[in-house]
Each structure stands twice: as C-alpha cells, then as structure tokens.
C-alpha cells in the first residue's frame, strides 16, 4: 500500500432523524419481522438478499454492488447503554461520546485537533451544510461550514463581481497588520483565517472535472462538493454532511425508501468519482444515525427506538458483517426495541486508531474494543 496516513480522510454522513435499521437491513426470512411490521414491512420479494437471513432495502441496490465488491462493513446492533430516544440528546451522545452528561466537545473536533495540533490548515475539517455539527465543535478548532462551495466565503450576496472583489480586498487589508490589543489582534488573525479558508476552498470546483454525474439532491451535491475538495488536495481530512429526515413516524416505506435511494446513489457516485481521480484508497465513509426505531410499527411508520446499523464504506474496508443482528423475539427486546450489542465508540475507535492513526482513547472518552473492518 502506497498510501500514507497523511492523505487518509474520513467522510461522515449522518442520517438525521433516526433511520429504521429493520427496513434498511431486513431479516426477510424471519416471520417475526412480518408479524411486527404488518403495515410498514418490505415484502419478501422486493428485498435484495444478502444471504439466507438478511437483505437490503430495495432502494439500496448501489450499496449492494459495493457490498458485493467487499467494500461495505455493516455494523449491526450498534448503540450504547441506557439508550436515549430523544433526537437531540441521542445525537449529542454520538457527537460527544459522552452518554452521562451534557458535554460540549465533539469527537471529530478532537480528531481534527490531533491531526493538526498547530491549526496550520484552517480547512482540515469541512462541513457541508450550515452551522457547525456538534461532532466537529471543539474550542480553538477551526472548521469551515460550507452551504454551497460555489458561493462560499465572505460577502456572497454582493451581486456585482467587481464590488465583491473590492470588498474582499479591503477586508484583507482591514484585518491585516499588528495591533497592540489582544482582542483586536485575535480578531485580525481570525479574519485572515476566514479569508484564507474561503480562498482555498473556492479553488476546488474550478480545478475539478469528472465524468460522474451526481443527482440533483442535497446529499449528492454535498458529496460532489466533498469530492471536489478531496481531489483538489487541500489537506482536508474530515468531511461531514447529513441527510434526512429519516424520522419516519408516518409513510415510512415511501419516505425512507426515497431517502435511501438518494443516499445509496450519492455514495456510489462518490466512490466512482474517487476511483476516477485515483483517490479511492484514501477515503473511508462512515454512515451513522442517532438511534433505531420501534420493532412494532404504528400503522403507518415507526416510532423512536434503539439499536441501529452503521456502515463503513471504502476500498480499504474489510467488507462484511460486524456485530450481531439483534433478535426480534420478545424476550430479546429492550422495551420494544432492538437490543444493542456493541458500543458505537468501538466503531469510532477503530476509525480513529486504525484508519487515522490517532490515539483513540481520549477521542472517544475511553477504551473500547476495536473491530477489524480496516484493512491492515
């Protein structure tokens, strides 16, 4: 393997709203599944079989192809003790690796700080979306949040190009120079960082070309932006985006199916794009969601539950099953939900340690057994 650790990157996709694992990886030969899902079950003949027990949602054919190529690790039964079934709280737990109390530092923020301790590259972490995901937030860690790569940066709504240029020019001058005041000096540095980050990022689309045509939906466009930044070799290591809403209390079969069609297509196009640019050995994609959903449907959808499935996808991934697929039997349920059997921090640890070469313990707040889904 010629890849050095420095070029390895992680692409995180959050399935916001809590994806239903039972209708993602379907135990299609288990009669209990159809007993519990009279209204929102996926008919056996529509499931894309993986083996004699489990199969993919019919909208996940592109993921199935990647699976067949051995590039998909599936972690079933993922969760954490005493599951919380509130979106915000459970997301917080996944973001901060702190299940007990309200914490403020995100695990990816710590990853970025460890990757670039001096903060030399202001775009080591890039989020595609508005606002800062809690995962990436840590004091002193710069992260660029990009709504749209083409218009990213300062003064996006100045229509006249000449005026925008003058504004940016003036901004650079105004924030330059040293000043004998700690706060003003800090602001100056911050302003120059902001300008620099925007300048670098905006070059990415200009130098990018690809035969891959991404679909016109938010997740596909976000991953296209990620590919643009990645192929521009700007030193970005952590990419983040989210898609949803998977909060399918109603109309689940249609809504969740449509979302998975978008996610599967986008991930598959992204992998093809990286392949085309010789980057496919350098990226690993992590797909996670904050909790699972009730085993029993509610007549139209499913309500908040626990126990989920995460995916790790890439050329350097050992494809296959990790974690046990939870039993649906009444005695094995956790208050009507799938019972988790592995901690999400094991998956995080594996990625931080084996893929990014970092000490995982401080990143995930503890020692967790690691998987072997990263090729050695």
């Amino acid at each position: 393997m010629t890849t050095t650790n420095k070029s390895r990157s992680l692409v995180v996709i959050q399935l916001a709203g809590a994806n239903d694992p039972l209708n993602t990886v379907i135990p299609y030969t288990d009669g209990l599944y159809y007993d519990f899902r009279p209204n929102v079950g996926i008919p056996t003949d529509q499931v894309i079989p993986i083996d004699g027990r489990l199969g993919f949602n019919p909208n996940m054919a592109p993921i199935k192809s990647l699976w067949d190529e051995g590039k998909v690790a599936m972690v079933n039964g993922i969760g954490y003790p005493n599951p919380n079934r509130s979106h915000f709280r459970s997301m917080d737990i996944w973001h901060t690796c702190e299940p007990e109390k309200v914490a403020s530092e995100g695990w990816l923020g710590r990853v970025i700080r460890d990757l670039d301790p001096q903060g030399q590259n202001v775009i080591t972490g890039v989020n595609f979306g508005r606002g800062l995901p809690r995962s990436m937030g840590a004091p002193g860690v710069p992260v660029a949040s990009v709504g749209n790569l083409e218009t990213y940066g300062l003064f996006p709504d100045v229509e006249e190009e000449r005026i925008r240029g003058l504004c940016l020019d003036a901004f650079g001058k105004m924030y330059g120079g040293t000043i004998q005041d700690a706060v003003m000096d800090y602001l100056g540095q911050t302003g120059r960082d902001a300008l620099k980050g925007a300048d670098i990022l905006r070059t990415a689309p200009e130098n990018y070309s690809s035969t891959v045509e991404y679909a016109d939906n938010p997740i596909a466009q976000a991953l296209k932006n990620a590919a643009q930044v990645m192929t521009a070799d700007l030193g970005t290591r952590i990419y983040y985006t989210q898609h949803g809403s998977f909060d399918t209390h109603g109309d689940e079969v249609k809504v969740q199916g449509g979302l998975w069609q978008q996610v599967s297509g986008a991930v598959s196009d992204f992998m093809a794009d990286l392949e085309e640019h010789g980057k496919s050995d350098e990226a690993v994609v992590l797909i996670w969601t904050e909790f699972g959903r009730r085993i029993r449907d509610n007549g139209s959808g499913t309500d908040h539950g626990s126990g989920g499935t995460a995916f790790i996808i890439g050329n350097q991934v050992n494809g296959g099953f990790y974690g046990e697929y939870p039993s649906l039997a009444d005695r094995d349920q956790l208050d009507g939900d799938l019972h988790f059997n592995n901690d999400f921090r094991s998956t995080y640890s594996t990625i931080a340690d084996q893929w990014l070469g970092l000490d995982a313990v401080p990143i995930v707040n503890g020692q967790f057994e690691q998987w072997d889904f990263i090729r050695s």
């Binding site: 109603g250 809504v255 139209s300």
Partner: protein, 342 residues
C-alpha cells in the same frame, strides 16, 4: 332558560387525526376540511416552515380509514402552495384552495391533477391580497375573503370575478383582516371579521344584514374569530380562535353554547399508544386537565397545557349529516360534535 340553552346545543362525538411529521396518514397543522359527495373527508395540511414541503390534502372517511393524499407540492409553480388557508369542493369534486402568500386560488382534482389557478396581488377585480376563507354556494359561486384587501370577492368556479364588497374599518360592511366565511341555506354570507372580533352577516350580493359579537371573553363575545358555518336550522358556529373555543349562536345571533374542547384518542392515536406502552402507561396515570399556576392565564397558554382543549381552532365546517368539525392547527386533529336531535 335551561330549555332555551339546550336548543341548538351540540354534544361531542369523537376526535379524528393524529400529528405527523411526515407525509401519509396523519395531519400536519391542518387548516381546513371539506367533504366530497362520496363520503370522503379532505383535510388541508398547511404545515409549518420546517415541514413546508409536506403541504397537502389528506383523505379519510368517517370510519377513520386513511385514503391517500394529493398536492402539487410546496412552491410557486402551477398548482403549488406556500401558505394555503382554506378550501371548498364543487359538484365535480374539484377542490379550490386559497393561498395567502401567493394571492391566488388553485383548483385541483382529488388525484392531484392541476385544473386551473387565478389571482395575483392587487386591488383590482380578479386580483387579491392574502385570500383566506373560501366557501361555495349551492349555485356554485365561490366567496373568497381577502385578508389584505378587507373585502369579499365572488368568483365563478372558472375564476371570473363576479364583484366584491367591503373595505377597511370597523363599521357595518367594513373589515379588519377577515378570515373565514360560511353560507346559510338561504345563501346569506357570514364573515369572521377577525381583528374586529365579530361575525358579520350579508345577503348573497353583499348587503349588510347583521353583526354579532364584540371584543371579549364573555358569552357571545369573541377574540379574533377565525371560522364560521351555519346549519340548516340557522344555528351559527364560530371558531373563537383567540379565546381557543367554539361558540354556537342561534339564528338571531343569541348565545347558545360554548365549547372549550374535550378531545379523546382518535383511532390513529390509539394505534400509536398500542405500540408505545411507556407513553401509554404514564399517560394513563396522568391528569390531562390539571389545575394551572396563576401566571398561565391566557386561553392560549392554557390550551398549550391542557391537551383536550381546543388549541388553534382555525376552521369550523359541517358535513352532510350536519356534524360539526373543529379543525385545530396546533393540535393536528379535528374534534367532531353534533347538534342534539330534539
């Protein structure tokens, strides 16, 4: 006196609907309902900004079977909606929906096919400003209440303006941001004159006949009435939005009855409870109509705390059997009442 109050009074039948944050079965800020001749109940879901893309009309029947939904989606394209407010269904089952943000009426069939649309911002004939309530008369004339123009405009179902009446003010025939409209069996027109806290009655061509109510919380008084409908005997039902209640007036406008709401679990809500035992069990041990601290003293705050009470009653409508449907935007449900047969 007791007999006088009893005449025209209604009793509670049941609650239909359930909140949802997705498409499909369930309501998302329902704003109006209507009925087709084949027994379908249509529910217009206005949706809040977070779920704007789910704007739609859902269909169900009295037995609470979910029968699908239709719309052209959220947006400014043909037949699409931004802020839909109210709807009416004609003899051919074409649905007319007002959109107060786009100042137009859209007509769709119940498969969601685009039929036509008309209107734009303005004060001229055929133009509109923030159309809100809409009602259809027996002769298939549409009455559209314009919140922004403070007037009622009449249209044919093909969108031709047949004239209008009203202006800003608080005198007879004047309006202040009117909202709902209802018709009686003689074709007289009742308008919920929202910011004047009253209901005005007009002849079919706009002659002022009467005004009911004044600002306040007493019997027969209103706070920002949103909707009005009239049954075959002439009883007037008003959703008293700001007071979070419904009032019933007799055909002369005399006070008959006041409803505060008494919702119970709909069939769909029971489905939810059956698969979420932790919520069901703790709910069963709760008092859902508790005493509140003194500072929670407005009808709005009280309704935010007491689930069976009306919260955001935006429309009242009668079906062919003269059952009264009270549509509650903030509670995503409809409480149904019926006048006692006496």
């Amino acid at each position: 006196m007791t007999t006088a109050v009893a005449a025209g009074a209604v009793e509670y039948l049941k609650t239909i609907g359930l909140t949802t944050n997705q498409s499909g079965r369930g309501f998302t800020n329902p704003y109006d309902c209507a009925f087709t001749s084949d027994g379908r109940i249509l529910i217009l879901n206005r949706c809040d900004t977070v779920r704007a893309s789910l704007v739609r009309i859902g269909m169900m029947n009295w037995e609470e079977d979910y029968l699908g939904e239709f719309s052209r989606g959220y947006g400014r394209g043909d037949g699409q909606w931004i802020f839909p407010v109210a709807m009416a269904v004609d003899n051919s089952t074409v649905v007319y929906v007002t959109d107060e943000q786009q100042h137009r009426i859209t007509a769709l069939d119940t498969q969601g096919n685009f039929v036509r649309q008309w209107g734009e911002l303005g004060t001229d004939s055929g133009q509109m400003n923030a159309p809100a309530g809409i009602a259809l008369s027996g002769d298939q004339t549409l009455y559209v209440v314009e919140q922004g123009n403070n007037r009622v405009q009449r249209f044919t179902t093909s969108g031709e303006s047949l004239g209008m009446w009203g202006e800003a003010g608080d005198g007879p025939g004047q309006f202040n941001m009117p909202w709902g409209v209802g018709l009686d069996s003689s074709g007289n027109v009742y308008v919920a004159d929202w910011r004047n806290d009253r209901v005005q009655k007009f002849t079919a061509d706009g002659q002022f006949m009467a005004s009911y109510g004044s600002s306040g919380t007493g019997d027969g008084q209103f706070s920002r009435p949103s909707g009005v409908c009239v049954d075959s005997a002439g009883y007037i039902y008003v959703s008293d939005w700001g007071n979070e209640r419904v009032q019933i007036l007799d055909p002369d406008g005399g006070f008959v009855q006041l409803l505060r709401g008494q919702a119970t679990l709909s069939k769909w809500a029971q489905d939810f409870m059956s698969v979420n035992p932790d919520e069901r069990n703790t709910r069963e041990m709760s008092n859902l109509t508790p005493e509140l601290p003194a500072h929670l003293d407005t009808p709005y705050l009280i309704s935010s705390q007491i689930e069976p009470y009306f919260w955001g009653p935006v429309s009242v409508r009668l079906d062919s059997e003269e059952r009264l449907y009270v549509v509650e935007s903030n509670r995503h449900r409809i409480q149904v009442y019926q006048r006692r047969k006496d």
